[in-house]
């Protein structure tokens, strides 16, 4: 995407495109671990949604449905705070493909 020239910018340093940071996929920050959602354990308490700093919990039709890996940074708060008897979110190892094909 070519960037605007100075003449094309809105005067006064204003961004009129509300909430367009959703195009920044912070999921690329994850390194080595990711949360996994186990639906059958979920008691729909919404704590994971509440405590996720990165807006990465998928909620649909009033229910928690899983993780949005586009934004999940793998911080793990959701898993720690999950209160269900058997955790409905667990952290698992994640292999990430680096440029050039190597894995970490």
């Amino acid at each position: 995407m070519s960037k605007e020239t100075w003449k094309e910018l809105t005067i006064g340093t204003i961004n009129l495109d509300a909430g367009n940071s959703v195009k920044n996929l912070t999921g690329t920050w994850r390194s080595g671990k990711k949360p996994e959602f186990i639906e059958e354990n979920c008691i729909q308490c919404f704590f994971c949604w509440l405590y996720c700093p990165h807006f990465a919990i998928l909620v649909k039709d009033g229910e928690v449905k899983g993780i949005n890996y586009d934004y999940c940074t793998g911080c793990g708060i959701c898993s720690v705070e999950c209160p269900s008897k058997e955790k409905s979110i667990v952290m698992v190892k994640e292999e990430i493909e680096l440029a050039g094909g190597s894995k970490k």
Binding site: G19, V22, P53, Y71, T73, C75, I77, S79
Partner: protein, 308 residues
């Protein structure tokens, strides 16, 4: 009473794709605060983590009207917006039925320190604003320098521990009480781990006529130096050790909103945090002792204030 399920279905006013650190406490504070009013909202944000990490042009994480002008003046800036609102309402240039809420936001740097004067002035003048401080105990945006909210004994980059120093030598400033001393209608302390407490206080603040102040403890994995999955645990411990009491002051009347059944020793909060690691060296035992004593004194004092 609000249910999380319902709150989750509301539109986000702060959205994904922000650049705040993994495990940061700021977004979950504002997830609740921004849901506590359904009126149109204008936010003035002081320079700091939240401002920088949410507005890197040409992207913005704000799905609500937002302005930033400088570091020390979020309260004055939002006061200006509110003054114009009053003026244009009076002049009939804003429809009578249009209600707007005004929110000033800053970290402890922009609120306790460099922005204290502007905040004091704005609330003294009685502007109908809410101000929320996210207190992460340091100038985190610039790499963790001490602030007047940094706890006693913490190692920060401008109060580093060393062979001749146990870290920060001063006790933290009690900003909430300073705001209470302005005789504003509503001032409170809250924490993101008790979402109902935070949500209710933010709601009360928005409903308050005149200035309302909310001081919210904000865990910070980067500067507190702990495993980033433990933020909410640490927030809980801050309340259970009474390091960060949850209370509110309505028209001068104190109410402590959370009293731990069993007050935990401060060590439990200090131990997981790298910034306090040096305090556990033998020679720093007196510092730990002093820390506990001061927390106990402050807690007793707060309970006394409540009983008046």
């Amino acid at each position: 009473m609000a249910k999380l399920k319902d709150l989750a279905s509301m539109e986000d006013r702060l959205v994904a794709g922000h650049g705040l650190c993994l495990g940061c406490g700021i977004p979950l504070i504002f997830k609740m605060v921004l849901r506590a009013t359904e009126d149109p909202l204008i936010i003035a944000n002081a320079t700091g983590c939240l401002e920088v990490c949410t507005t890197i042009f040409p992207r913005t994480s704000w799905n609500v009207t937002w302005i930033h002008s400088a570091f020390e003046n979020a309260a004055a800036t939002i006061a200006g917006v509110e003054a114009m609102y009053k003026s244009l309402k009076r002049k009939g240039r804003i429809p009578k039925d249009k209600k707007i809420k005004f929110l000033g936001v800053g970290g402890d740097g922009g609120t306790y320190d460099i922005g204290l004067q502007a905040l004091s002035g704005a609330v003294e003048r009685g502007h109908d604003i809410v101000y929320v401080c996210y207190d992460n105990n340091a100038y985190a945006n610039t790499g963790g320098q001490r602030s007047s909210a940094t706890p006693f004994g913490a190692s920060a980059t401008t109060s580093p521990e060393g062979s001749q120093s146990p870290g920060k030598l001063q006790w933290r400033k009690d900003l909430t009480k300073i705001l209470v001393a302005h005789n504003i209608p509503y001032a409170a302390q809250s924490s993101p781990h008790r979402w109902q407490d935070l949500y209710n206080k933010a709601k009360k603040a928005f409903e308050t006529e005149g200035p309302a102040f909310l001081n919210v403890l904000c865990f910070c994995p980067t500067e507190w130096k702990y495993d980033e999955s433990q933020g909410i645990r640490l927030a809980q411990l801050a309340a259970d050790t009474c390091i960060w009491p949850l209370y509110e002051v309505e028209s001068g009347k104190y109410k402590v909103n959370y009293k731990p059944k069993e007050k935990k020793p401060v060590l439990e909060w200090l131990k997981p945090q790298g910034r306090f690691r040096h305090l556990f060296k033998e020679e720093n035992a007196p510092i730990l002792e002093e820390f506990q004593k001061q927390v106990d004194r402050d807690w007793e004092e707060l309970l006394k204030l409540e009983s008046f």
